[in-house]
């Protein structure tokens, strides 16, 4: 009997009210996350990709209830935490943490490194001062920062080092689940590589489960076991990483992969697969939201939102043309190793 997933979301929705003009009728809400079903098993890394406005960051925060869902259910080890009270939720937070994107904004500039990393311990009253100091030193060691960092302030460190501080802080309470929200996107390429390696190592050592949110497909490929692709608030495809990148099925995923610049001058892409900008269709619930830009759209695509259905094993796609097999095959081939 398989244990329940570590984290599961069912029918997750988040609607934001738009600011109203005085005396104007209320605008339809912004449906940032509109019916997301996801699960993450213990020990795995789920990559969550999509472009701006797709709702991936919001989803990450919903899973931790940093933002409250408008509708839907959240399960932690099978337990419903959607409406858990403040103090109980606080206990839960020890097990679920987040690493932020902005190394320059996610650390309080007026706190020293030891105060920053130790804050979770202080808030949850873990240990006394000496024990906390020891734990802070242990965490710094874990993220490969020198011990003398404790007295310094964030502005004395580079972007990559600040991210390490953020990681140390996230690990202070020994969480089992960590959401990495574009954790390496603001870093230079060579620093990115260091931090990604570090995260992988920490996962192995500390038995962590990651939700890795990123718009950078190559990075997601590198670190994820499974990948979910989002578009305008909905999950359009989920598959194991190698399957998704080798044989994407949803037209949006295909377009996304097609749009990536190649790795080498010999791989110059001559064509662009998808037209237009992200449609501002955040109010419409009618049908597939990608249909407006989809090269394979048909009138029936606008009739109803396509359900996420399995095409085989662990590969799910939200496209009616994929489901009934009528989608033309892609000219896109998996990028070969040079």
């Amino acid at each position: 009997m398989k244990p329940p997933p570590l984290i599961e979301a069912r029918g997750l929705r988040k609607h934001f009210q738009r600011p109203r003009r005085f005396l104007a009728p209320a605008a339809p809400p912004l449906r940032a996350v509109d019916g997301v079903d996801l699960h993450i098993d213990a020990g795995e890394t789920l990559g969550l990709v999509g472009e701006s406005g797709c709702g991936k960051s919001t989803t990450g925060r919903l899973l931790l209830r940093l933002i409250e869902p408008t509708a839907g259910t959240l399960l932690h080890h099978g337990q419903d935490i959607t409406r858990l009270g403040t103090s109980q939720m606080r206990q839960k937070r020890r097990a679920m943490q987040i690493i932020f994107q902005d190394p320059y904004g996610s650390l309080n500039p007026r706190m020293r490194v030891d105060e920053l990393i130790g804050e979770p311990l202080v808030v949850h009253r873990v240990g006394d001062a000496a024990q906390r100091a020891a734990r802070v030193r242990q965490l710094l060691d874990l993220v490969r920062l020198p011990a003398n960092a404790v007295e310094r302030y964030p502005h004395e460190f580079s972007g990559g080092q600040r991210q390490r501080i953020g990681i140390a802080r996230a690990l202070a309470l020994e969480p089992e689940f960590v959401v990495a929200d574009e954790a390496v996107s603001a870093l230079d390429v060579s620093v990115q590589a260091q931090v990604i390696n570090l995260m992988r190592e920490l996962q192995r050592e500390l038995k962590l489960t990651y939700l890795f949110i990123s718009h950078n497909l190559a990075v997601v490929r590198n670190i994820s076991d499974r990948v979910a692709v989002m578009y305008l608030g909905r999950v359009v495809e989920v598959a194991p990483a190698d399957v998704l990148f080798a044989a994407p099925r949803h037209p949006y995923t295909r377009a996304l992969l097609d749009a990536l610049p190649g790795d080498h001058p010999s791989q110059r892409r001559a064509h662009v697969a998808v037209r237009g900008d992200l449609a501002q269709s955040s109010g419409s619930d009618a049908g597939c939201r990608f249909a407006v830009r989809c090269p394979h759209a048909q009138p029936r695509c606008l009739a109803a939102p396509p359900p996420l259905s399995a095409v085989d094993g662990r590969h799910q796609v939200a496209c009616i043309r994929v489901a009934d097999g009528s989608l033309p095959p892609s000219p896109h081939h998996a990028p070969d190793t040079t």
């Binding site: 230079d188 060579s190 497909l217 190698d242 790795d263 900008d277 998996a334 070969d336």
Partner: protein, 332 residues
């Protein structure tokens, strides 16, 4: 550098840019040639000085940063000796620049028509109906979906990709011979980035415009550039054709950069890294700035290495190639 090639459009020699008259240098002795119609990529990470290079050329350095030495030959004239008024005449005309953040590079209280109109009036003397006609033509050129409507829009009514197109239109309005693009697609989504890059390539080909493309993204370099210069800590450490760079990277930093990219084709796995961090401005080690992080560093790295040829049209500022080096297979 390229003896039989046509007269370079831009010849940069010995550019030193620093903070104030006596503060630390940001750029050290940068030499660059740009042929007409060529796409030259400048790649580097934060702290490499690549943006400062672009701003030095355009005369847009923020106070107190200033050019301290060097010449920038634009035809017969040295840009650094021109008076501000003369540089202004060039800027937006023959030399145009587009920036990274389309959100903040357009004036939020001016309509697109007004912003385009400014360029057309200043650099091409067009006003009124002819200016509007030309503005529409430019917007079509950059493939805006609905030029008449978007011409009268304000920037906040347009998406990021459309704003970047407007910026490109403004740059084109002055009929530039050189377009400097500083991270033009970094702030855009992948699918939009692809569209913009394709647009730039097409325009560049049609207009025979030279492009100086500044980016940290090697994928963009691969997609767009004929030749590439790699910058580290304020110096050019390697330059050559794009193929040279990807197939025969010579400088250890270039090699490290290429190796540490996560790539779709490589699948999951440990990434190669370059240990250490970029030195801060004014805190460069003596000798080769990369030596502290370099696996191939030796005693001969105590002097700042000059750019030395390592292939036809391919130069690297490193002494390691002169030593016997480990076998290098085809690049992964």
């Amino acid at each position: 550098m390229n003896a039989p090639a046509p007269e370079p459009l831009l010849r940069l020699r010995g550019l030193d840019t620093g903070i104030g008259p006596r503060g630390p240098l940001i750029l050290y002795g940068v030499d660059l040639d740009l042929a007409p119609g060529e796409v030259l990529g400048v790649v580097g990470e934060s702290g490499s000085g690549k943006s400062m290079l672009a701003l030095s050329l355009m005369g847009l350095l923020p106070q107190p940063v200033a050019v301290r030495a060097g010449q920038a030959w634009w035809g017969e004239r040295d840009l650094f000796t021109l008076r501000p008024a003369q540089r202004r005449a060039l800027r937006g005309g023959e030399m145009a620049m587009i920036f990274q953040e389309p959100m903040s590079s357009l004036n939020p209280v001016m309509r697109v028509s007004q912003q385009l109109g400014e360029v057309l009036r200043w650099h091409r003397g067009l006003q009124g109906a002819p200016a509007r006609a030309e503005s529409l033509r430019l917007l079509e050129r950059v493939e805006m979906p609905d030029p008449p409507r978007q011409l009268d829009s304000y920037p906040h009514e347009l998406s990021g990709g459309m704003r970047q197109r407007v910026m490109i239109a403004m740059a084109l309005a002055g009929r530039p011979r050189l377009l400097v693009a500083d991270e033009p697609t970094t702030a855009l989504d992948v699918t939009i980035q692809a569209q913009i890059l394709e647009l730039l390539r097409r325009i560049q080909r049609d207009e025979g415009m030279a492009v100086l493309l500044i980016t940290h993204d090697l994928g963009v370099i691969a997609q767009m550039c004929d030749r590439v210069a790699v910058m580290y800590a304020g110096r050019i450490v390697e330059h050559g054709s794009a193929l040279d760079l990807f197939d025969r990277p010579t400088h250890p930093y270039t090699q490290g950069l290429l190796a540490s990219r996560p790539r779709l084709s490589a699948g999951a796995g440990w990434l190669t890294t370059i240990e250490g961090t970029v030195p801060a401005v004014g805190q460069l080690p003596p000798g080769c700035a990369f030596a502290p992080r370099c696996a191939q560093a030796g005693d001969d790295c105590a002097q700042v290495p000059a750019l030395a040829p390592c292939g036809p049209g391919h130069w690297a500022a490193c002494v390691a190639p002169q030593r016997p080096r480990p076998a290098q297979g085809p690049h992964r």
